[in-house]
């Protein structure tokens, strides 16, 4: 009788993290191959929120596509609208008035702060601290109110227009923004006492989920995640668009590239955004907020444009091809979360499942932006 081989001992098992899981922030599924509590392999599976935005662009006029932009990354919708406007303006050769450019920057930076605040709250919640989440939402609420005043919506703004913005800002807006910045600065002490200085928090984040420069480069990681490993790459500085070159602000960087660094970088970025807003408010020129006499259905000349900008999550870019008609021939969006998410396949190896959550939280992904 042939010698019976021993039955294979299964030492690993697979665990589905998501698509419905409290910490995957949207419908993301990560297929984990686990050995006890350790992760052997992580495979992010995307596509649960695919809506075909890029294809949709081909059957919509440029202006009609504007609302789609803010629905890709719904947390930095203003910045996405802003970037799309700049891309189309570059393609069609439109130069918006000065005042409009300042207003756009102010709104975009407010949006960046609101996005980072939401990330801050959910990240700490992933680590089990529930209270900072509500504090952040309280702060974020003020931004939403401010942006609601000018744009009429609180999340998906569609406030920018080709050659300007939809509505001018008034004194109330300016005052509310200044008040908010003052309020936010007074809150830092609370946040630092509650979170940054907390021993448990430091132990949960320091040295966890280290993305080194090489991995970041290979996977196309951008934004705060890249800056946390010490690369001062920020489109606002590297290739200043709009009026960003007129402001004095720093690009905060980290050294270790771990979750704690990513946390610190984002916190510092909020402060830098406050500085930009303050300067923009001080320099805010008078004049029209929008170019007059522009056709609603703009028809850029034949050609293509690639325009990259810095959204709250990193390098975002629109690639538009025009065939001279009112509809884009082709639209492609380069989203930062895609690269940021896929470096997880490397980073999650040999980590604990509890760390997987904090790493996933620390890289700040928005799933609909990945799936588009």
């Amino acid at each position: 009788m042939a010698e019976q081989s021993a039955p294979p001992v299964q030492q690993t098992y697979s665990l589905n993290l998501g698509p419905q899981h409290p910490s995957t922030h949207g419908v993301l599924r990560v297929l984990l191959t686990m050995d006890g509590e350790f992760i052997v392999e992580a495979d992010p599976i995307i596509g649960y929120a695919h809506r075909g935005h890029e294809k949709m662009a081909e059957s919509r006029t440029y202006l009609q596509f504007m609302p789609n932009c803010s629905r890709m990354d719904y947390l930095s919708g203003m910045i996405y609208n802003h970037g799309f406007c700049l891309a189309v303006e570059k393609l069609a050769g439109i130069v918006p008035p000065e005042r409009a450019r300042y207003i756009r920057v102010i709104c975009s930076e407010l949006n960046r702060i609101s996005s980072h605040l939401l990330w801050f709250g959910t990240f700490v919640m992933d680590l089990g601290g529930f209270t900072p989440f509500l504090y952040c939402f309280d702060d974020r609420e003020r931004i939403l109110d401010i942006l609601d005043r000018v744009s009429g919506s609180r999340l998906t703004y569609s406030y920018c227009r080709f050659g300007g913005v939809a509505r001018d800002i008034d004194e109330v807006f300016v005052q509310a923004t200044r008040d908010f910045i003052q309020r936010l600065r007074s809150r830092w002490t609370d946040y630092h006492n509650l979170v940054t200085k907390n021993v448990i928090f430091i132990h949960r984040t320091r040295g966890v989920g280290v993305i080194d420069r090489e991995t970041a480069r290979q996977f196309g990681v951008t934004g705060p995640n890249l800056r946390a490993c010490g690369v001062p790459f920020d489109m606002r500085k590297v290739e200043p668009y709009e009026v960003y070159d007129r402001f004095d602000f720093q690009v905060p960087t980290g050294t270790r590239g771990d979750a704690l660094d990513r946390y610190c970088v984002r916190l510092e970025e909020m402060e830098q955004s406050c500085r930009i807003i303050e300067q923009a408010l001080d320099q805010l020129p008078e004049g029209p907020h929008r170019l007059e006499g522009l056709r609603l259905k703009i028809k850029p000349r034949r050609g293509e444009v690639y325009f990259a900008f810095e959204s709250a999550r990193g390098l975002t870019a629109y690639y538009l091809v025009s065939d001279g008609s009112a509809y884009p021939y082709r639209c492609h969006v380069r989203v930062p979360s895609y690269g940021n998410l896929h470096c997880l396949t490397e980073v999650l190896k040999e980590t604990l499942v509890a760390d997987a959550i904090s790493i996933l939280g620390s890289i700040d992904i928005v799933v609909p932006e990945i799936d588009r």
Partner: protein, 330 residues
Amino acid sequence: MTETVATSAGSDWLRIIIGLVVVLIFAPLNALLLVWLERKVAGHIQLRLGPMEVGPHGLLQTIVDGIKLLGKELITPSRADRILFPLAPVLVFMPVLLAFLVLPFGPQLVIREMNVGLLLIFAFSTFTVLAILTGGWASNNKYALLGAIRSVAQNVAYEIPLLLAAMAVVFMVRSFNLSEIVMAQHRVWFIFLQPVAGLIFFICATAETNRAPFDIPEAESELVAGFHTEYSGMRFGLFFLAEYTNMFIVCAVAATLFFGGWHGPFGFGLRIPGVVWFLLKTYVLLFVLMWFRWTFPRVRFDQLMNFSWKVMIPLSLVNLVVTAAVLKLL
């Protein structure tokens, strides 16, 4: 002679039965109050009000929630263990109730005086872990199983320093009887004589009850809901009740061991009945537990185990040895 023994045994039984009935009424009501209190504490810590709609300041909210839970369908996963799955919520609640038997609420206000009261409570509280393991395993869900495994590891790790910290008090009183421990504190509370033991006890008690920052078995951001992921309706409700009753028990034990039980502070408040002092102290400790939960992030599993084996156990051992040495020398 035999007759008196029989009657005393009879009255003993009567006492236990009455006590159990009272406990059966008190425990769920107390849990409902605690859930409400937790939501209020959480609300006020988080700059909001918490439940406000049902009843004055939302007092009836948890009762309504309880009724809702009673009306919910009991879902059993298709591959779950038919016997153990429904049994686990009952198992988890039983030992918690039994622990009330020996708790001294006031002088004479104890259901059953026992020489080994303290040991009995620890024995019962350990039993809860078995029920959690049963529930997690019977659910046939990976998250539930992971939660159950963590729960066992955590409870084994924290039971030891908990007991060692309590032993320091036992050394001083030379008794396991909870009433005698309280009586020994009529002048000075043991928290002043045994601050280290008190601290260790409270931290371990937090871990014992799976409360944040040690709520690892049910870490909702990692394991969905941990061991009770698959439970619904009143089965989930029983886990919930057991958790809150367990919180009450450990805080009551902490109040008994370290905060003078039914005694007023420094001999004050003698006119106020002991049970009021006892409940007051217990609820203050419960508030601290809630305060913990809404302030701290969660500790990671391996860090939690390291903390117990490398810090808590050696520290409690040293404390115990020092206590023994000092007692011997005095």
